[in-house]
Symmetry: C2
Subunit: 318 residues, 2 copies
């Protein structure tokens, strides 16, 4: 399947009643520090606090009535779990979420608040996949993968579509890369709606599998280390080709650089972003000269960080 | 002097080139918790991170050219200091800020970034006033009081004017009260631009001088204790009569209630507010039944809090 311009436009129309059109903010003092003109697309203000609400909703709304009624299933310990439970809640169908027993209570509560049914399993990937298969066999629910799914990618693309509609032409757009759903969507939306814009990804050094995959030409596994806990997965066979063919560059950043960028957004913009979300800004700061005097869009992916954890990170990297 | 509707309209036109028209945000989950429909006027996103940018700018722009050139002076440990330094910076005149030696580093840095000259003194009010007098005698600068000044009050009123323009009729507007500049402005703007709206103030229990002043009919001194460090001053002879004549009620809240409301805004809305700024929401939560099913505007006054201090407060009141 190829995600066309029309695919993204249809996804946007489909999900509009269920999502926020998030604001675009700027900061004079961050611009001065960065030496360029940055607009921030604030998906930290999105429903469930992250862009994931878009893709999960588009995937759910793309199912046949018959399939939809049997419910939605996934394994996720993060924002996608809550996004899928929320989609199911609004469409009045069941959701089945496989989560590692180690997942934080706050994430489990988020899923339960939307009526999602949680199946706990061992933290290993194999156990998660086995449990998910069992749940699907029993319920007939459809698996909605967090990123390796074309409807999810088309949904994530709508954030960049909105940014371009609101702001017009940009020289660059920066997004983070984990499994590659948001980055793939960003790349395709830029290609269709703002062809002159170059898309650059930020990735944590401790989980630089996308950077290495671009070099080697095949999907490399992630070591999955560091503060960017939303970006620890490796690419999928649907996201890798899109990224390989369209991304201009991937810039990797250290945990220290990530937390410094996160602190700057908290202090200067008075908004809360999670560590993963600070990665593209950290990447911009790291290679300032590349963006000097340019118009840059940054997708702020989410704001779901436990305050206690954020405080510990600020202390640790002070 | 009486602040008329035209005074506020003129103030608004005067300061518009220098301030943000701040966004109005809402939160489904806070609405569910509160049992009413709240719109938040986000002055934490205002220039210098607080509504004080409005009043200081209006006062500066209201001076004669001759007075303006001699500079602006004030004693303030808070956001007004930065606001006045910023106004002076844009108008290319000097600013002289008397601050207690105990003032948070983030606030001193803010003043210096705008070229303000800081004069440190002992934290006691008397020392601050003496130092300010010396500075004015030496420089010929004009004192711009943080709240007991009609131009400052008219400037602060523009936040509520914008809220009403953007949102229309509200049943209630809630604002915090310290010295009473913001509250006086809010009261007058509501009176002129939305006469059906009742204005209620929130005040920290540890600095409940406005509450006691309303009861006694005269200006009571503040004990100045607690987390709401922007609200520790007592009322002035210009703000007290406006508040006495127009406020519906003052609700006092404990430090624990303030920090709980602050945490809720950080976690649910993903925006950063300072402790003083959480006081009106804490007041609403404390008397939920009063606001049940109503449309309520809350002025979020500012977001200038040291992250380390915020983390300590969240930990202390967990």
């Amino acid at each position: 399947m190829i995600i066309s311009k029309e695919t993204i436009e249809q996804a946007h129309e489909r999900i509009k009643p269920y999502i926020h059109r998030t604001p675009v903010l700027g900061s004079t003092s961050i611009n001065e520090y960065a030496g360029c003109n940055i607009v921030f697309k604030c998906e930290n203000f999105q429903k469930i606090g992250a862009f994931k609400a878009r893709g999960a909703m588009n995937a759910a709304l793309s199912l046949s009535k018959e399939d939809l009624e049997k419910g939605l299933a996934t394994h996720s310990s993060g924002n996608h779990a809550q996004a899928l439970a929320r989609a199911a809640h609004f469409l009045k169908v069941p959701s089945y979420i496989v989560m590692p027993s180690t997942a934080p209570e706050i994430k489990k509560r988020g899923v339960r608040n939307y009526g999602g049914e949680i199946f706990e399993c061992e933290p290993a990937l194999e156990a998660r996949e086995t449990t998910l298969k069992e749940v699907i066999a029993k319920t007939g629910a459809t698996e909605i993968h967090p990123f390796n799914n074309y409807e999810v990618i088309a949904g994530q693309a709508t954030a960049t579509k909105e940014l371009i509609e609101d702001i017009g032409q940009l020289d660059f757009i920066l997004a983070p890369v984990g499994g590659g759903g948001l980055l793939s969507g960003t790349l395709l939306a830029a290609k269709y709606f703002s062809p002159g814009t170059q898309v650059i990804a930020g990735e944590p050094e401790g989980a630089d599998d996308a950077y290495r995959s671009l070099k080697s030409g095949k999907i490399e596994p992630s070591q999955a280390k560091g503060v960017g806990d939303g970006l620890l997965t490796s690419l999928g066979n649907k996201t890798f080709p899109i990224i390989r063919d369209h991304v201009k560059e991937i810039i990797t950043v250290s945990d220290r650089e990530i937390i410094a960028a996160m602190r700057m957004v908290w202090e200067r913009m008075k908004i809360i972003i999670e560590p993963s979300c600070a990665v593209p800004l950290a990447a911009l700061f790291k290679e300032k000269q590349k963006f000097s005097g340019k118009r840059v869009g940054i997708i702020l992916s989410g704001g779901n960080v436990d305050l206690e954890r954020a405080c510990r990170l600020f202390e640790e990297y002070k």
